[in-house]
Symmetry: C2
Subunit: 193 residues, 2 copies
Amino acid sequence: MKIGRYSVEEFAELVRSFHGNAAPGVILGGFMVDAALQRVPEGRLYDAMCETYRCLPDAIQLLTPCTVGNGWLKVLNLGRFALTLYDKFEGNGIRVFVDSEKICAWPEINDWYYKRKKKAEQDLERLLEEIKAAGAGTCGFESVQVKAGLLKKEERGGMATCPKCGEGYPSRDGSLCCACQGETPYSNTASSV
Amino acid sequence: MKIGRYSVEEFAELVRSFHGNAAPGVILGGFMVDAALQRVPEGRLYDAMCETYRCLPDAIQLLTPCTVGNGWLKVLNLGRFALTLYDKFEGNGIRVFVDSEKICAWPEINDWYYKRKKKAEQDLERLLEEIKAAGAGTCGFESVQVKAGLLKKEERGGMATCPKCGEGYPSRDGSLCCACQGETPYSNTASSV
């Protein structure tokens, strides 16, 4: 069994190095991304959409050209363990999700997916064995059409210097940058060091 | 000059393979992350916050243990080219940003950062030369305190099966999953394939 151009063990090693540990979600995600890639027509330029922040974005970033920083991967916080690879111009694509009926055949995957066991109670080795044995056999596939509004490339727009913090920001954001308008994640007045 | 444990050329190669091309923003981002790492106390467990979706998240993911999928990197859409590495429990950290005064000494960086030239007009080679020559010399540094609300680890919570789409979702989201509540990114009724 392969995940992209890797053996399962090679992919697990890559996941360890990027994600910090061979997390079940990234290994399962690897099978899902691989299964999606096999269904993308040859030569098609695709973007990726991920419906959860948990683990799956890293499988996408490791196995496709799509990353958060190059803008070809969008992550939505919908809480579903699913991803879509779609034509970046037309929006038609293939969605891969965990099929809650199919996983009934895999008790460890089922308990893990539905968070029925505390982490300490999980048998990680058995869970990973089930994930490797099941491959994409726990997944469902759908044809989807991504909404037109999500296909638009963000306008490049101009930059300005924020009169409050003195940093560059997209001028379309207003007369101050978003952080100085109140979205700052910091509670102190920052001090230079 | 080094970026993390890489020579600048090695890092550029890594960026090509992950991000798709040796984009100026990821190379500059590499110097910024490296400079931040040098200011994190030894042995400190840190998380990362990135204030833009453009390029910089990939430099963070390549040079630190923090990724989008493992939850140690948060990306905010504030439009400032800046990142913070902070103590994941206490929230105190070091913020690195592009200093709009310091970049005046680097004309190509200045024009690129303020988007004063169309992509076709940019002298990419000269821009990259300036970025490599300047290193973190275009950056400012601040001590910051991340807001307490952003430090809280998301509750694990239970999972339910959405009665509409049939997929697992965090039960705290309500009686339907967020996608079926109207946040779906798809315009069609999906069809199984």
